[in-house]
Subunit: 239 residues, 2 copies
Amino acid sequence: MPSPYNLEVEYNCGECRVRAERLFCNMATSTVTALDSVKFTGLYPKGSLLFVEGEDPRGVFILCSGRAKLTTSSTEGKTLIVKIAEPGEVLGASATILGKPYEVSAETIEPSQLNFIKRDDFLKFLGSHADACMHTAQQLSEKYHSAQREIRSLGLSQTTSEKLARLLLDWCDRTGEETTRGMRLKVLLTHEEIAQMIGTTRETVTRLLSDFKRKKIIDVKGSSMFVTNKPLLEHMVSV
Amino acid sequence: MPSPYNLEVEYNCGECRVRAERLFCNMATSTVTALDSVKFTGLYPKGSLLFVEGEDPRGVFILCSGRAKLTTSSTEGKTLIVKIAEPGEVLGASATILGKPYEVSAETIEPSQLNFIKRDDFLKFLGSHADACMHTAQQLSEKYHSAQREIRSLGLSQTTSEKLARLLLDWCDRTGEETTRGMRLKVLLTHEEIAQMIGTTRETVTRLLSDFKRKKIIDVKGSSMFVTNKPLLEHMVSV
DNA sequence: GCCGCCGTGTGACTGCAATCACATCGACTC
DNA sequence: GAGTCGATGTGATTGCAGTCACACGGCGGC
């Protein structure tokens, strides 16, 4: 299938091969059919703004493939990255359900496939398909869960190095690959973006990472980072 | 009706007079009947621990009357108050739905009435009553929304005074009464607890409040606080 | 009355991280 | 090769808030 952005596209949810693995999408055949009839499949290049904080909710985006960053900004221009959304997540659900403005902005950081559902259609869909409603509740629970983790990290960390340690450990759990040299992480974010994830400045991130390298906690080779002393990282967050 | 803790109790949801005002409880008669058959009504004194962070989810608590604080703690003993829950809120829903440990602890800070529903019963109840499932999704959306506010406050504030200003403005919106001397707030929390809400220390809260008094932004009379210069507070958070 | 407890008010000191400023380095354009 | 641009590395300075220490006042118990 020819497709832009080198992306494998699936226009038909009924035929989607990864559907069963997805918390939200894994639903009864009849429900999937209903989903297919209201959704709009779109391909988005890196850097596409899906919605902006404060905007009235138009509907939800189901992230089929690719990744998106969810951010919130202060009026002074300081930006906080709340979460990096992974495939299978539903974006904008809470605002759409409540009819309140989007509480974050969403921007793709990779070429991505998204299925958009208009607000009215989505609400009707949830009302008439119990399993979809249940899966939405699960999605929202997941979102709340990860927001709670973020709150812990921001509110309970004594120092910035503790926040960074928390972030790296999070990455190990989520995307780390075990190797003989320690956990390997693909660092796809700049120091600036890492800073925005833990609420600090770019310079501090650079300094702390140098520090970690000096202390042999991590080892950076190109865009790969090896966590060579995970226990020490864990010690930094718990004590 | 004689009742402990000077609390007006309603054992029967079907007869509850405030039900229609509650986001979650406002559901079809048949659904309420089902709810009544699985819930356990309990009265709890101030300081009751409903559940503890990290514990496996036993079920959900519907806060009928009273208030509860939701907290998360670090291993060093530092505590962060995530939210003060108000009547109508459902506590522990996300953990119960996902089957993951409670992400926060819940403790009553006033004598409270709560309806408890066991995990299995709650999941069955949601599965068989579409409106209850929808209302749960709304509750979860609200929870996510307020968690997002907390993240903004913790992550984007440059200084502690900004966080405190944010908190006071929040209180104005939520429980403030307009008076000729400015918004009146009932301060039911100690400086220690305020500190735990914004992730700082007791001393800093005392100092900042003195500061605000000196600058004629607030005026404290007993357990009442008058916000006499709200625009200045707003200026502190946006610049 | 006395005592103890808890919440509050303040001073002195210190350290971490924000800020500003500039250097370096790689990639890509022209 | 010169020039630009974004990302990274590093030094010097400063200020905010955490920490420790102690004083004061109200309130309940006895």
